[in-house]
Symmetry: C2
Subunit: 255 residues, 2 copies
């Protein structure tokens, strides 16, 4: 059987602990090519570099793992990997492990999930992993153990066409962990409260801040519910923004 | 009746012809506050500025229109507008008119649609408009005429909760125009072909380029089909990445 080829990326940069943890798990399953941003690119969503050219550098190679840095976004990293680095379509794309939650609406802001969704669009079984701790020294012990289980299942079973997984782990002691729960994306919103400041020249500037507002905290089928109840959440995801129920409504407008 | 408050943004920058065209249409319906990037931010998707603070400048005010520039992304512009500029939630958000198509999978890379989707997430009826011509001097005549019709209908009827519209216009003579078609997002992918070059120091760099591959060119319910057959496409959109059919499949894995 041909050795599995696994593409790894993230948005915290090639030197983050989270990608190290993910490579450590994924390398048991095949040959790893990691292409990750040269520095943190959190909040980059699905952004691509149109105005600026990209740099790609091979950093190191060790046993069955090679690591490249990309000057662009997480999605740029995946596109460069597929077009310029890999000799064939990978069998799996894994992104993360992200330092911080990408549950609910955070999926759309996340560079880690941007990379995973770019894999989905390209027909590659793709998984984004995150832990609910954005600190640089987040504990990945639990996440690694169950990421291994999920990767193994995906390699065994495959995923439906263009479908990927958004996987989030609570950061709790293992004896409190309740298991893996298949969920839907929670409806919610980040409420902005910009921090307005004056620079030394007395000009205003603004820091983006805010808090997450869950619109359906009691809904047990959602990823936020799972995470607050000590489950890991697995949401099958696909890039189709169409609101199918709204199509009939709009047709009735006779535009 | 209270005057309508309409938030306008885009990704081509506050001085693009497209946003001028959109304001020209929208100002018939109420008071306009435009907050747009200080320069072109195409391809910025749903990116937000986490590492850098933002600048916001009021540029001008004329009759019922005021224009602000934002140093960040299109989504930053919408967030700043909602939190720092507007005195109440707007009745409508319109984004564009984008110079270039945002049909099919391009929706996920687009800053113009990022701004519109940020409106949807915040429960504001939101519409992104685009024309299939990315040149700076694109012709917006047809787009303006039918954007007016669509805006009027949305203000009259509202939109379902968290649903917005992705509207694309062909650039053709009006006598060839077939009308407005309600569609679903086409399944397709941008195939990358990076343009690899050497800089003056003989180091490699890469320009992102590529072409669109339509996976379902014969599907008459899709936006790409509508556009290639001289219709304007209107796709109702919502930010929910969940693949509902995949949930049952994953549950059967007993993770």
């Amino acid at each position: 059987m041909q050795e599995k080829l696994i593409l790894v990326s993230n948005d915290d940069g090639y030197d983050a602990l989270g990608i190290e943890a993910l490579i450590d798990v994924a390398k048991e399953f095949g040959r790893i090519v990691a292409v990750a941003p040269v520095e943190g690119r959190s909040g980059m969503s699905h952004a691509i570099s149109i105005k600026n050219p990209l740099r790609l550098n091979k950093l190191w190679e060790k046993e069955n793992v090679s690591m490249y840095s990309c000057s662009g976004t997480p999605v740029d990293s995946v596109k460069l990997a597929l077009d310029q680095v890999l000799d064939r379509k990978p069998d799996l794309l894994v992104s993360g492990i992200n330092h911080g939650s990408n549950a609910s609406i955070s999926i759309i802001y996340s560079g880690t999930m941007g990379a995973a969704l770019e894999g989905c669009i390209n027909g590659i079984p793709s998984i984004g992993f995150s832990v609910l701790d954005h600190s640089r020294n987040a504990d990945f012990t639990l996440a690694k153990k169950y990421a291994r289980v999920i990767i193994e299942k995906v390699l065994q079973n495959g995923l439906p066409e263009n479908v990927g997984l958004n996987v989030n782990f609570p950061v709790i002691p293992e004896n409190e962990f309740k298991g893996i729960k298949i969920c839907m994306q929670t409806t919610g919103v980040w409420k902005e409260e910009f921090d307005k400041r004056k620079d030394p020249s007395k000009q205003d500037y603004y820091w983006l801040t805010g808090f997450f507002k869950n619109h359906e905290p009691e809904n047990e089928t959602t990823d936020e519910w799972a995470l607050t109840h000590n489950y890991a959440s697995v949401v099958p995801v696909k890039v189709d923004f169409t609101s199918y129920p709204a199509i009939e409504i709009l047709k009735s407008w006779n535009l």
